[in-house]
């Protein structure tokens, strides 16, 4: 399996315009300083300066790929992202580490669970949410080729499915059940896949939609899911406000459609910091807990 770092390095070799930046977070790009030389720039723990400098580099024709933890990149530097990158519509690529539940034991200061909401609120910003390292690597050429700014919810987990070829704004769909559609993105795919198996074993027909790109969203996949199944389920490690549930609601309303929907997200609170398996258990995002919540919603629906 090719890594994110190897792929980024190959792309940088082929395109002189690519520069790799970090605000002293080298977890995903450890070998880069040595290999890339002066085109690797570590500004220290100064996220706002990194984004301002990225805007300057992009203004001069470069394609900066900026690394930091997702919270500091999208929150601390937000006004620089919006004002320097957004208003000028510069091709700055933001790669946010340990987004969502992946910040495990760090606590609320490190929980990027409003990042999608913020980033999709910047005009022309694309938002990518890879399910694993293979998908991340598949996406990378398209992300760097696009003339628009982009935010990537970095995730290099091990893949559990074979992916369809990647194209911006196109979801990946598994199964054609007509009882429920499980809509998700990012590392949660693994757990949602497990939930799908459990539901199928209980005789529930499942369609699993891995959205991959949250902006632009695959409107057709969302609308078809809403039309074809009895219950839509959005599953995200993000606040319910502004993330996938909001995107689905906006998409359907624009088509004058409505659907019975179960949003599974974080509601008006930060999650309990702990090791990742404990977080998933506590917050109800293991395959077993997700399946139980969907079954309960289906039963509730049947009783009405």
């Amino acid at each position: 399996m090719k890594t994110y770092e190897e792929t980024l390095y190959e792309l940088a070799l082929a395109d002189e315009r690519i520069v790799v930046l970090t605000a002293e977070n080298r977890a995903a790009i450890r070998g880069m300083p040595e290999k890339l030389g002066a085109r690797f720039i570590d500004v220290g723990i100064a996220e706002q300066t990194m984004i301002g400098a990225a805007a300057g580099l992009a203004l001069a024709g470069r394609i900066p790929v900026c690394h930091s933890l997702a919270t500091f990149l999208t929150l601390r530097a937000f006004e620089f992202v919006r004002t320097d990158v957004g208003i000028a519509r510069l091709p700055v690529k933001l790669v946010g580490g340990v987004p969502g539940f992946l910040s495990d034991g760090n606590g609320p200061t490190h929980q990027a669970i409003e990042d999608i909401s913020l980033m999709r609120g910047v005009p022309n910003m694309q938002v990518f949410c890879p399910a694993d390292q293979v998908e991340l690597v598949d996406m990378l050429p398209a992300i760097l080729k696009s003339p628009d700014p982009a935010y990537v919810r970095y995730n290099a987990s091990k893949p559990i499915v074979e992916h369809a070829p990647f194209s911006i704004g196109q979801a990946e769909i598994f199964g054609d059940g007509t009882d429920v559609a499980l809509l998700t993105f990012g590392f949660l795919l693994e757990h949602v896949e497990r939930a799908a198996e459990l539901l199928e074993a209980r005789g529930v027909g499942v369609r699993l939609v891995n959205l991959r790109t949250l902006k632009p969203i695959d409107e057709r996949a969302v609308v078809r899911a809403a039309r074809d199944v009895r219950l839509l389920v959005t599953i995200e490690d993000h606040f319910r406000t502004g993330g996938l549930y909001s995107i689905v609601a906006e998409t359907l309303l624009a088509q004058r459609l409505t659907a019975k929907t179960l949003p599974i997200a974080l509601e008006e609170r930060w999650f309990r910091p702990a090791t990742l398996p404990r977080v998933l258990e506590h917050e109800g995002f293991t395959g077993e807990k997700l399946a139980a919540r969907v079954l309960w919603a289906l039963e509730e629906q049947a009783r009405r």
């Binding site: 002293e24 977890a27 220290g44 723990i45 933890l69 601390r76 490190h110 910091p273 404990r278 977080v279």
Partner: protein, 284 residues
């Protein structure tokens, strides 16, 4: 406020044991916690006007951990001094308590949460301003990391603290010479640090952060200069107490095995250096 240095050494040793024990089952920022263990122990025994009975007293002194990931050293101190029940440390990284890699106010003695660098100097300025408004005697101590000084908010805060004449504000810099995994002077040089703080309007001094005698002298007369914020730059060693991890760039965050923890505890008490296999080169 006149604890013997031998007693302080003993206390610091027990606090370091707590820190080491937290570096397993998910791990903790061990290197960055051991560098400021002596500073925190000294503050609680010799400087801060706060006890378990006065953690909510409006006239207490405040200690804010701005770098945040050094919280194991604070928790060890709070346990040893009776602020916090020892059993809570066994709930580290569980969902049953609020004991994780960064501070949470659910623990008595923790004044504010942190983890995002460069926040608590400004929060400390707010507390110091309130103290001035009340014409009260509280002092506000902010423990900063040296890598944290990269953040622009630190320097904004210093300008404001000097402009407002906040001589009840004391910044302590845990000068362990490391960012996460890189030496500060290799990446973004900070020196001459004392001159920088002075240029921003504070009164600054430099001290050996592992010498209780030197720390006694540094904190003996506060503020360091009337009408100005004080900055005490404490030279420290990351991983202090464990030669196998001292000054090692890759020993910032660590998640060791139980066996490694036992070997490190022995090393702390003078045994040979522990042989460490666990991968620790992780930037959080």
């Amino acid at each position: 406020m006149s604890t013997s240095h031998a007693e302080l050494e003993g206390l610091a040793l027990r606090v370091r044991e707590h820190v080491i024990r937290l570096a397993t089952d998910g791990g903790c920022f061990i290197g960055a916690s051991l560098s400021c263990t002596d500073l925190i122990v000294h503050l609680y025994r010799q400087v801060l006007r706060v006890t378990p009975a006065t953690v909510r007293d409006p006239n207490r002194d405040y200690l804010l951990l701005s770098k945040g990931h050094d919280v194991p050293a604070l928790y060890g101190t709070l346990v040893e001094l009776g602020f916090m029940a020892r059993e809570r440390l066994s709930l580290h990284l569980s969902t049953e308590d609020s004991i994780y890699w960064h501070p949470n106010r659910a623990v008595p003695g923790v004044e504010f949460h942190s983890g995002s660098l460069g926040h608590l100097l400004s929060v400390g300025i707010g507390l110091a301003l309130d103290t001035k408004l009340r014409q009260a005697e509280n002092r506000v101590f902010v423990l900063l990391g040296d890598g944290e000084l990269d953040e622009g908010t630190i320097w904004e805060g210093l300008l404001v603290a000097a402009a407002k004449g906040l001589d009840n504000l004391v910044c302590i810099v845990d000068r362990n010479e490391f960012q996460a995994n890189i030496r500060t002077e290799e990446l973004t040089p900070l020196e001459p640090l004392v001159a920088k703080f002075e240029a921003f309007g504070a009164k600054a001094i430099r001290v050996d952060g592992h010498s209780f005698a030197a720390l006694d002298a540094a904190f003996a007369t506060l503020p360091l200069a009337p009408g100005r914020p004080s900055v005490i730059v404490a030279d420290t060693v990351r991983g202090r107490g464990l030669p196998s991890i001292e000054r090692r760039a890759d020993r910032w965050f660590a998640n060791f095995s139980r066996d490694e923890i036992e070997a490190l505890l022995a090393e702390l008490h003078g045994a040979a250096q522990a042989t460490l296999h666990s991968e620790t080169l992780v930037v959080r």
